[in-house]
């Protein structure tokens, strides 16, 4: 294991401490167990937006605490759901009397614990609802779309929720439009190398020096195809094909595009992916109304990239473009 870390068992808490030290105007460590990151003060007069999930995906989840994004976020161990308590802490912090929306990745533990946190919150007369992000088209077919994992699509869904809340929408409205974002976002990734969970000490999976895996999940879950590494244009073509097969675009369809690095892939290569993805999507008729290129949803030192497309309507486009600000992303 080759990491710039101290003791594996302190990894998560020390990184959170570093994040607060670097960005105290945005991040404060809180909660009974120090596993919540929240804004220094809740923003009054709006619906709260929170999330939570396993660690090791920075900026997902916890990095997106910020203006027009999350009010608070629960933090688990590496690749493991937080327990219910920091989720409840987050909901309680974010609630300003108008209710709270939880943006949750489609993983069993995350869902179950957020369910409990919402029920607990109810006991305090806080209305908390959940929108599930399940954007990974490689994880299951269209007929089982509810089984798909949540990956980088989280970024757009969170952006929509945060912007709707910041615009003063009611919980019902925020929930509706966020659910529409979740319904209209699709992702697929390609992994070139494994990551290593610090407490495990060994790479999560093996992959040969000349292999890639299309569709692999952000914890190393199996993808749809393992094969020889191909030129980036061909790899990108395959990913674009999967996205368009799952949800086509027609002439003039407006989309938001995220070309995302998994952690260890140089940004130079992400621009190669972007170049080809843009060409292909535009050739298919799409209008790329908003896009990002960079490390927005990672798996520590995993090498690879993912493509995320959010199919826009007028409301979603306005919300995706609304201003937002966290240390990893300014819009």
């Amino acid at each position: 294991m080759k990491k710039l870390i101290n003791k594996p068992e302190n990894y998560v808490d020390e990184v959170l401490a570093g994040m607060q030290a670097a960005h105290p105007e945005t991040y404060q460590v809180g909660g009974a167990t120090g596993r919540m990151l929240h804004r220094p003060k809740p923003v009054a007069g709006k619906v709260g937006v929170v999330s939570g999930g396993g660690f090791g995906h920075i900026p997902v989840f916890v990095g997106y605490v910020g203006d027009g994004l999350l009010d608070a976020c629960a933090v688990g161990d590496v690749f493991a759901s937080p327990d219910m308590n920091p989720m409840l802490d987050s909901i309680q912090f974010a609630d300003q009397g108008k209710g709270v929306l939880c943006v949750v990745g489609n993983y069993g533990g995350d869902r179950m614990n957020f369910d409990m946190a919402c029920e607990m919150a109810e006991m305090d007369d806080i209305v908390a609802r959940k929108v599930i992000v399940s954007d990974d088209v490689a994880a299951a077919g269209r007929e089982e779309a509810e089984k798909r994992r949540g990956v980088a699509g989280f970024v757009f869904v969170t952006k929509v929720a945060g912007a709707a809340a910041a615009a003063g929408q009611s919980l019902d409205e925020v929930e509706t439009v966020t659910q529409r974002a979740a319904d209209n976002v699709r992702s697929v990734g390609v992994a070139l190398s494994s990551c290593t969970v610090p407490q495990a000490g060994q790479p999560t999976f093996d992959i040969a020096d000349d292999e890639m895996e299309i569709g692999m999940g952000i914890h190393g879950e199996p993808g749809v195809r393992r094969g020889k590494l191909r030129p980036v244009d061909e790899v990108t073509d395959e990913m674009v094909d999967m996205l368009l097969a799952d949800k086509p675009v027609s002439n003039g369809s407006r989309i938001a595009l995220l070309v995302n690095g998994l952690g260890a892939t140089p940004v130079e290569e992400l621009y190669l992916v972007f170049r080809q993805a843009k060409a292909r999507l535009e050739a298919a008729g799409a209008v790329i109304a908003q896009y990002m290129v960079g490390n927005y949803a990672t798996s520590m030192e995993m090498a690879g990239a993912s493509l995320t497309v959010l199919h826009l309507d007028d409301d979603l486009e306005a919300l995706v473009k609304a201003s937002a600000n966290c240390p990893f992303w300014k819009v």
Partner: protein, 200 residues
């Protein structure tokens, strides 16, 4: 004495007193079919419960919720999550009450069982703690005093273990070892039986 937060406090004390040997036994049992962490969950869970037992709110509903919070703080294991789910479901039944009749305990168990089924997606007959809950709910029917209830629960627990021993596990981690599980007690069922014994 009716069922109140004092009952919950006493229950925590009784089980916490004996949880270390029970934990060791459950780790072994869970290790034969699963990941061997059930005992860890139990030991840590009851440690947390001990930490809050003197500060339980008078409101029974809130007392159950406080216990659920304490249990969820320990780990992401199925048993912990389901136990917390059960406690919350029970809590909802007794919101804003400080005491209930002992005869109402059965209704709390029933609410708990329904919530656990909803949360965990298992069915009765899958050889899980749900089946143990089910036979407890049956046996408590008509029982009025804690003494009666304990005796009935103990014999029902023993019988249930026996009934399911030679059936295969059908859910969770143990399902992969369905064949191997024949002849072995389900760890979650056994854990409940051992907890009941703590009141003897």
């Amino acid at each position: 004495m009716r069922f109140s937060k004092e009952t919950l406090k006493m229950a925590i004390e009784r089980i916490a007193d004996r949880i270390d040997p029970i934990g060791a036994e459950m780790n072994r049992l869970d290790g034969q079919l699963g990941d061997g962490d059930l005992g860890v969950t139990l030991v840590n869970g009851f440690n947390n419960l001990k930490g809050i037992k003197d500060d339980l709110p008078d409101d029974l509903g809130r007392a159950f919720f406080a216990m659920a919070k304490a249990v969820t703080a320990v780990s992401g294991s199925s048993f912990g999550t389901l136990l917390a789910t059960a406690l919350m479901a029970a809590g909802k039944q007794v919101k804003d009450k400080e005491e209930v009749e002992w005869s109402e305990v059965r209704a709390l168990l029933q609410a708990a069982q329904e919530a656990m089924i909803a949360r965990g997606g298992a069915n009765l007959g899958d050889k899980t703690m749900l089946d143990m809950m089910d036979s407890l709910i049956s046996t408590l029917s008509g029982k009025q005093t804690p003494e009666e209830m304990l005796a009935a629960a103990q014999s029902a627990a023993a019988q249930t273990l026996k009934t399911f021993r030679d059936q295969p596990n059908k859910i969770g981690r143990a399902r992969v070892y369905a064949e191997k599980s024949i002849g072995l007690d389900d760890p979650g069922m056994m854990a409940i039986a051992r907890m009941i014994d703590c009141f003897d």
